[in-house]
Symmetry: C2
Subunit: 398 residues, 2 copies
Amino acid sequence: MDWEALRGQFHLPKGVIYLDGNSLGPMPRAVPVRVGDVMEEWADLLIRGWNEGDGGGGWMGWPGRIGDRIARLIGAAEGTVTVGDTLSIRVYQAVASALHLAGPERAVVLSDEGNFPSDLYMAEGLVSTLGRGELRVVPPEAVMDALTEEVSVLMLTQVDYRTGRMHDMAALDRAAKAKGIVTVWDLAHSAGAHEVDVTAAGADFAVGCTYKYLNAGPGAPAFIYVRPELQDRVRPALAGWLGHARPFAFELGYAPGEGIDRMRVGTPPVLQLAALDAALDVWDAVDMGQLRARSLALSGRFASAVAARCPTLTPALAPDVPRGSQVSLRHPEGYAIVQALIARGVIGDFRAPDILRFGFTPLFLSEADVDAAVAHLAEVMEREEYAQDRFRTRRAVT
Amino acid sequence: MDWEALRGQFHLPKGVIYLDGNSLGPMPRAVPVRVGDVMEEWADLLIRGWNEGDGGGGWMGWPGRIGDRIARLIGAAEGTVTVGDTLSIRVYQAVASALHLAGPERAVVLSDEGNFPSDLYMAEGLVSTLGRGELRVVPPEAVMDALTEEVSVLMLTQVDYRTGRMHDMAALDRAAKAKGIVTVWDLAHSAGAHEVDVTAAGADFAVGCTYKYLNAGPGAPAFIYVRPELQDRVRPALAGWLGHARPFAFELGYAPGEGIDRMRVGTPPVLQLAALDAALDVWDAVDMGQLRARSLALSGRFASAVAARCPTLTPALAPDVPRGSQVSLRHPEGYAIVQALIARGVIGDFRAPDILRFGFTPLFLSEADVDAAVAHLAEVMEREEYAQDRFRTRRAVT
């Protein structure tokens, strides 16, 4: 693949080495043009945009059309992914439907301590609202053994947002299925980061966001996948009108739409969808196998060089643990080290209590970026730059 | 107020009389500039936009800051409104929290046949998911008598999306309170359409969308209001990380945030929020009392002229019934009549089975628009233009 051409498709501020594409991807150059186009459609077509926008196809069909573009990146078939709402909402939808499929006899949702907290909170909120069942949270390495007959739903994020540790989706899905457990995978740190094959793994539900590796912008819409065999058995907890079989008949009672469409809820966010659609253009030229190889090469190069030059930074994972497209390090001064790096133009991020997190996104990063980032990090550590007060003052979002 | 100056703040396509601002408002001229600005912030600030975007205040604070701007338009105090997600999601949030506040002894959600179907579907989905309780739907005029001791939550849309009939919010709230019933008001056709005072009415929860009278664009974020006295007792069903007391501590267990912040769920949609923020600029110069007077003058002018010139079009409401900022007419050929009008540049819309719906939005409509619209409608009826096949072919979104 032509990595230089891919990099050229992004707006990258001068003097910045951006190792935080795993938190918020940079802006693809195609985005402002497309968002401008859709605002013109709004201005000129007004209400008719729902039927005639998107260059004629109508904005109303975007969640499915864009869902199909994401499907290719996670090994899903056409017609199995839809887009909209936030990832937290998608988690709730998936877990609520999974609990219903699992049946009323058992209501333990199993998750792990490496899951993103919002996923745990949403499941906790669901269980409280139901007034029955239990959210059980175990260490990541204990998940396999915790798959007992009591468990109804296994809800995991494949790649740990802090450490980058990667679960074996296929193995866990196999073990879950053997016990009649319905699976819900959060692919927030997977989609666009490495090869994913939800079909081969047999995942029942998968959800993810699009503002990280997919570069669709702050607050970009989330996606949800439902295994084809389950789609017509799924009862939506969030039974919105656009998931209805006949939304524009305005019937008083709910009747779920066909297939994945029943996971739609309310009116789709057209401006954000335009940005997402433009961001996905970059992916048309990307082979996920080659992307993964380069991601491992770049992150491996970083990890080895840091191990050699920064002995006080501890890797968050042992070398033999499978990981996503990030490298995480631990240090008691993690927050201040990240701030000192940012002051030098190397942007990573910090996750409490002590994790320095660096994302390696081959679409716009090169070996030269990696080498320069290591050089900066080594200087910050050698000179103890992080000890300055200005780097220790905490901000709201870190 | 300077109506001509207000009208000048909108992009209005030439040759169009837009009587559908109650479905999707036209684009305020300030929107593309502001959305362009926020895309530049994304491009240049990258992840730091969450803290430093919005010209320095940070995107993360937008839901509350923009919520305060909407609060003024619905008679709510500062710190009682937040923004994000779709209206359907906000309905679910409000009803789930209201059911919890009402206590476990009773679980009837009362609504009416004039409610927007998605609100009914969301409540139906909630009740099915809970596996207890009941959604009870009565005719609009029967609501007051149906407020019995069995009812836990009263969920109504103040202004009927089809007919424009307006509920007496204060009277129904008073009657509900006397029976210990928690109230949830959908203000989709109220916010920006007429004076609303949720504080004086004593409403417990209120929700609404911003793409109708507030003109924030297709799929613009919704809002939710919680009465100040209830805020710290509300248990969020959709317990997302941004509603957590300490979202960036990444704790494993949920702890609700202070006040209205606990109704936040996931990552806010920054592009759509920029559009909403720009759209609200128009409202800074608007006095809601004067807006209401002009809305009634324009819609009254339309209704009287239609009554005189189009005898086969039946008003959907008796003249003495309070209504919002729309006029609805009935005709068996309603769909085709609306299509024939659209072909003439007069855009209203159709709602099954037989309603022609016209919105009167004083920010960008004049008496001349109203008179021209009536003249077109009279010609369509006199010449029976609607009988042409091309106007009878249904489209997906009407």
